[in-house]
């Protein structure tokens, strides 16, 4: 059993129609075991009242759902315009040269994270990080934990005058 039945019941009740619970339950399953297993697909399908094949097609449509357990440390680097202009390609290439890449940690690219003011932006496990530089991100994937090494995201208002709505 991947999902907690009581919690599932409560989540289904939040929506006027059952099938809306597909994405929330898939997220819940991924939070619990790190990925979407066949068992999880079956449980979500039963709870949402849709065929398992349909849940499976939903899982493969959305890029954030994984069908395999990821490494403990995952860094996703934005490759869209502003981050590319700040050198995202070179950063990714350099990180992928590091020993342990693909086994102990993974370095992936993602599309725009809506954090262009922090280019190069990224997601480390489940938190927004940036601006990333090589030293900070290398420490992050090698040692994990201290996201501070790569300049933490924190409140987006923190980087005055970056996001404060234009304080002088």
């Amino acid at each position: 059993m991947v999902l907690d039945p009581a919690e599932t019941k409560e989540m289904v009740a939040r929506y006027p129609e059952r099938r809306s619970v597909v994405l929330p339950l898939l997220w819940r399953a991924q939070e619990r075991i790190g990925y979407i297993s066949d068992e999880a697909i079956g449980e979500v399908a039963a709870a949402a009242g849709v065929p398992a094949s349909e849940v499976s097609s939903v899982v493969t449509f959305y890029t954030m759902f994984r069908r395999e357990k990821p490494p403990a440390r995952r860094l996703q680097v934005c490759r869209s315009l502003s981050c590319a202009m700040a050198g995202a390609d070179e950063l990714v290439a350099a990180l992928r040269e590091m020993p342990g890449c693909g086994e102990k940690f993974s370095v992936e690219t993602v599309e725009c994270l809506a954090a262009c003011d922090r280019a190069i932006a990224g997601i480390y496990n489940e938190g927004l990080v940036g601006p990333l530089n090589l030293a900070g991100s290398a420490k992050l994937v090698r040692d994990g934990g201290a996201a501070g090494a790569a300049a933490p995201a924190g409140s987006s208002g923190a980087g005055a005058p970056l996001e404060g709505g234009g304080r002088p």
């Binding site: 929506y15 099938r19 994405l23 599309e111 725009c112 809506a114 987006s156």
Partner: protein
């Protein structure tokens, strides 16, 4: 000119805390609406305000609301917080740093349209934003602003946060509805429009985060007051996200109609040292490039359209002279090729063909006929050939760049690349051997 209507207090106080938010006049709009106004009066003020949708199309919110048929079916409000346009990050700031303003806007708007179930859809990557919004909703429920019999009235409203899971296309309103219904994010055939058959085939309003955040101040101060701010045909403020080769990238809330030059040169601090402006993509990757001679264009929906581009969601990407126009096209096209949902052939196939041609141009393997090939592909993919605008978006910048910077494309088509120019950019990621080998 800066005017902090939606961003007031951000960066100064913790607006995530409902006590702080209320101490600054927060939730007064809910009290004003529910205690002193009928739903129709709230909707009338929003119509009088001429509040135009901040998601990009600039469609008047009041008119959108007026399309809902009164046939007894339940009505729904869905908040579009799928902000995914490369260059745009203003909704993320509102969600993370002023969540109660959105909750308040959702309550007032739901009351106005007669809806008792609203969904705040946030893109999956907003991990922190979803948690913040969830806490804000809990606080609002405890304070009696959300739930049964709000403020002792007959009006009840439930609000849920619904997370996406990585799909740009879900920012398109009908794909967003599919996603809330637990399906793949494929756009629907329109008509019927969401106002007639939206969520669960019921009348539905979809408005973006920033649009709904404008509603509380309209309720408090009146539509006429809002209509008097900024450009007469695009009133209010717009939070402009600016990034790229400027000294101070960030979000700046400006009165609509503020000249583009003021944003770039004053607020964003101008182009980085020693460089000069080459072009601006004013509405992110999907907009036609603007050039330095257009810096006096007012930032509002109509003026930007008249200048041949788009205000959109105001995610401005600024490029200096080291930027290769072909490389920008490739980066944009790779994005669209990746994000195409695959439903319509011109978009699904075309974005990948364009990406392939641009990749060989960029890589120095261009062919002389490639420039004409790209021009024809722009026409084959764009021009409303797909069910949603993604197909058009995918070739808008390219079409403009082929006109403005044709010489660069021609040079690439003859085997010359600009990559050495791009090497000149200041990357913070300077390799240090010890880090790599450790």
């Amino acid at each position: 000119m800066i005017m902090r209507l939606l961003t007031d207090g951000i960066g100064e106080v913790d607006l995530r805390d409902i006590g702080t938010y209320r101490a600054r006049g927060g939730y007064r709009a809910v009290e004003n609406a529910l205690r002193r106004m009928s739903p129709k009066e709230v909707a009338d003020e929003v119509s009088a305000a001429n509040l135009r949708g901040r998601g990009g199309a600039g469609f008047p919110a009041g008119r959108k609301w007026s399309f809902l048929p009164g046939d007894g079916r339940p009505r729904y409000l869905c908040v579009n917080g799928d902000e995914s346009e490369p260059g745009s990050f203003n909704n993320r700031m509102l969600v993370e740093d002023n969540p109660h303003l959105l909750v308040e806007g959702v309550i007032c708007s739901s009351y106005a349209i007669g809806c008792s179930f609203a969904v705040i859809y946030l893109r999956g990557e907003f991990y922190e934003g979803a948690a913040i919004m969830g806490r804000a909703l809990e606080q609002a429920a405890e304070a009696g602003y959300v739930g049964e019999h709000i403020l002792g009235s007959d009006y009840s409203l439930r609000i849920v946060v619904h997370r996406g899971a990585g799909a740009y296309i879900c920012g398109e309103e009908s794909a967003l509805l599919e996603s809330i219904e637990g399906k793949r994010g494929h756009p629907r055939v329109k008509p019927p429009f969401p106002a007639v058959a939206g969520l669960y085939a019921s009348p539905t309003v979809v408005n973006t985060v920033e649009t709904l955040c404008c509603v509380p101040s309209i309720v408090n101060n009146g539509g006429a007051w809002f209509a008097g701010i900024g450009s007469p045909k695009s009133p209010g403020t717009k939070i402009c996200s600016i990034s790229g080769h400027v000294r101070r990238p960030g979000n700046y809330e400006l009165v609509m109609g503020t000249p583009l030059r003021e944003l770039v040169e004053e607020h964003a601090g101008g182009i980085r040292d020693g460089h000069r402006l080459k072009m601006i993509l004013p509405a992110g990757a999907s907009s036609a490039a603007m050039t330095p001679d257009q810096l006096d264009t007012p930032l509002d929906f109509d003026a930007m359209a008249a200048a041949g581009s788009l205000l959109g969601s105001a995610g401005l990407i600024v490029c200096d002279e080291t930027t290769c126009a072909v490389k920008v096209a490739l980066l944009g096209e790779s994005f669209y090729a990746h994000e195409s949902c695959g439903k319509c052939t011109p978009c699904r196939e075309g974005t990948k063909w364009v990406e392939k041609v641009l990749a060989r141009l960029e890589g120095g393997q261009g062919r002389p006929e490639d420039v004409d090939l790209l021009k024809s592909l722009v026409g084959e993919i764009g021009g409303g050939k797909c069910l949603c605008p993604l197909g058009d978006f995918a070739v808008t910048y390219l079409g403009s760049a082929l006109k403005l910077f044709e010489d660069e494309f021609v040079a690439h088509a003859h085997g010359r690349t600009c990559s050495e120019r791009l090497q000149a950019r200041p990357t913070a990621s300077v390799a240090t051997g010890e880090v790599l080998s450790a």
